[in-house]
Symmetry: C2
Subunit: 106 residues, 2 copies
């Protein structure tokens, strides 16, 4: 299984694939292709998230004002309930995210 | 922070960097440069491991006989106590691993 190949076509909408669930940790590949969160929408997750961009480019916006540009290899940890949205993903090519969600009990 | 840049020089020995610990999940970047596990050595881990190769090339060997070649993007889950060793990593360039270890309580 390969994170960078056999990409689903995400031009019509972001595609989330669950790769593994181990204990309270969920591992997903997310493919975006120009999508962004709706204006005014914020993710507000109970889980901690580790997210890396493996290909493409994206920009995350946090409700506290921080804006983080992401290119291949860039990663960050998003604390539980730190509100954020996807402000932008590259419309010209797929953006591949590797995301880990670690549940409250993890 | 970037998984693919600012690589430590691993020619003298594999280098493990702990990126984050969230609950019972530990996230590491490992850089190899030609190293392999000693002959006859087996990792026997209590934790489940999700591991992906992000750059370079490697080969894992399992005590049950399976051999898995890994190139960029390839990933697998190694069950707890499934004995394995690194049979080979590319001696010509760094191999970058992203490894997640999920503890027994996760």
């Amino acid at each position: 299984m390969n994170l960078l190949r056999d990409l689903p076509d995400a031009r019509a909408g972001e595609i989330v694939e669950r790769l593994a669930v181990i204990g309270a940790t969920r591992i997903e590949r997310i493919v975006s292709h120009g999508q962004a969160s709706p204006a005014g929408f914020w993710y507000d997750q109970a889980e901690a998230e580790f997210v890396a961009v493996l290909a493409g480019a994206a920009r995350l916006e946090f409700a506290d004002g921080e804006i983080v540009g992401l290119k291949p290899g860039d990663w960050l940890v998003i604390a539980p309930h730190r509100r954020h949205r996807v402000a932008w993903t590259d419309p010209a090519a797929p953006t591949i995210w590797l995301a880990l969600f670690m549940g409250a009990s993890a």
